[in-house]
Amino acid sequence: MSLEVKNLIKVFDNKRVLNNISFKVEDGQTLGVVGFSGSGKSTLLKIISGILYEDEGQIIYPDDAEIAMSFQYSALFDFLNVYDNISFPLVERKEFRDKYTKEQIDEIVNEKLQMVGLQGIEDKFPSELSGGMQKRVAFARAIVTNPKIILYDEPTAGLDPVTSTIIEDYIVQLKKELNASCVVVTHQLSTIKRAVDRVIMLYQGNIVFEGNVEELLSGTNEYAKQFVNATVEGPMNIAQK
């Protein structure tokens, strides 16, 4: 149930934001996608998740694979409480509505909330939750259909270091429990160190580094060095960006 991206090209306003991107993520593996803002990371996730269409190339995964995505700012439905947010796809999609009774849906929601360490908040609305709790509810909603491909867009953005660690642990735990192929877009080195198996780095729509976490952190790739050391000087021209 792996995910493969082949020769992906996306053009916005005559500018290639993704240029011939290819990679593969195996079952139970997490790929980290790093790069400066505007390098095409979020566009890549949007194409994999089906929000945007590719101009060229292929996204290959089994037909029956559910894809889930956790958004940068959670994107919980603010007019629904936690229970309704998590049960949303089960209630609104016909295949699940026909498959599960109300009691079964209750059970599934409880189970998913347990998986992200939250219980007893079913009646709360997203605005009543902290940033970290919103992220975990968003995770619970994302995994409610037992997806085999999970995409995370900056899962620790705006969170304090301790909450970030908790979130990173859940990314690892969910991957193991669901044996899913995961893609994590992040700027955080801590997330890369704790939650990622392999890394690609994007710059101006191109993959400029591909390797494991060790190679990213202490390898010889100039792009990786500049990113890890957070220096202005290097092959990536920040001023130009």
Binding site: I51, F71, A75, L76
Partner: protein, 265 residues
């Protein structure tokens, strides 16, 4: 040396071109959303639970303001019309004229305005806010079509429940007009009701119900479509809401003209 780019005419032309482009894009978005909505409705894929939720907003949330606007307007018209008609010895026509004005135009247009301000604006800002906070994208990833979940129920509620608002508002308006005529022109309630019956024509009522249904659908569609195509942040949410209100007012005026031309010309 003459530089075309610096001339006022050239700049005005560019501005006009930009506005026309924006107009056509908005029209295209509304058309695209309407075709999707129509496809769902024709295949009877209507989320009944959500439609009932939205119907409550259409029928109840807008009712107080609809009743106030229609009631006050009809009272003001009766206040000015009834004494004049009484002076001419035609007080008995007050009810009939009120019925014609109320049923053919006032009740439906005024309640349309109330619904634009109460319901349409909230549809637009709600969906625009969902759009800029990625909630619409989240819905797509969860494989729930946002058109089916958000627009179709609102459109259906508009088509089905705007006529309800119209009927209640028109009845209330005629009641207010009768009351004011009684106090301002000494017209007996019985005379008013007798005159009213002469002005109540089944054809007019049916046309008004049809018209209100068109108004309801149009307001819901335009408001949702404006919200749906919003990108950016808080500023764009505000712009989308304003655009939804302005476009809805324009659409109602155009529909009203079309209906009048077809049925009363």
């Amino acid at each position: 040396m003459f530089e075309l780019e610096k001339t006022l005419t050239y700049r005005a032309f560019l501005l006009l071109l930009g506005l026309s482009r924006e107009f056509l894009i908005t029209l295209g978005n509304i058309g695209r959303d309407f075709s999707h909505v129509l496809a769902y409705i024709l295949s009877l894929k209507i989320n009944v639970r959500e439609t009932i939720e939205q119907a409550k907003r259409f029928a109840f949330d807008s009712l107080p303001i609809s009743l106030t606007i229609v009631g006050m307007t009809s009272a003001i018209i009766a206040m000015q019309l009834a004494p004049e008609l009484a002076k001419q010895g035609a007080a008995d026509y007050t009810g009939m004229l009120s019925a014609i004005v109320m049923i053919r135009e006032l009740a439906v247009v005024m309640s349309g305005f109330a619904i634009i301000s109460m319901v349409g604006s909230s549809f637009a800002s709600e969906i625009a806010s969902m759009s800029v906070t990625q909630q619409i994208n989240a819905m797509k990833v969860l494989k729930v079509d946002p058109v089916e979940y958000l627009i179709v129920p609102r459109f259906a509620a508009g088509v089905l429940f705007m006529p309800v608002v119209f009927v209640v508002a028109a009845t209330f308006g005629l009641f207010c007009a009768g009351l004011v005529s009684h106090y301002c022109a000494d017209l007996s309630i019985l005379n008013y009701i007798t005159s009213l019956w002469r002005g109540l024509v089944v054809k007019d009522i049916m046309i008004a119900i049809l018209k209100s249904s068109f108004f309801g659908g149009t307001i819901a569609l335009i408001s949702c479509s404006m919200g749906f195509s919003t990108r950016g942040g808080a500023k764009e949410v505000g712009i989308a809401t304003t655009k939804a209100v302005v476009w809805s007012f324009l659409a109602i005026a155009i529909w009203d003209f079309i209906f009048a031309s077809i049925f009363y010309l």
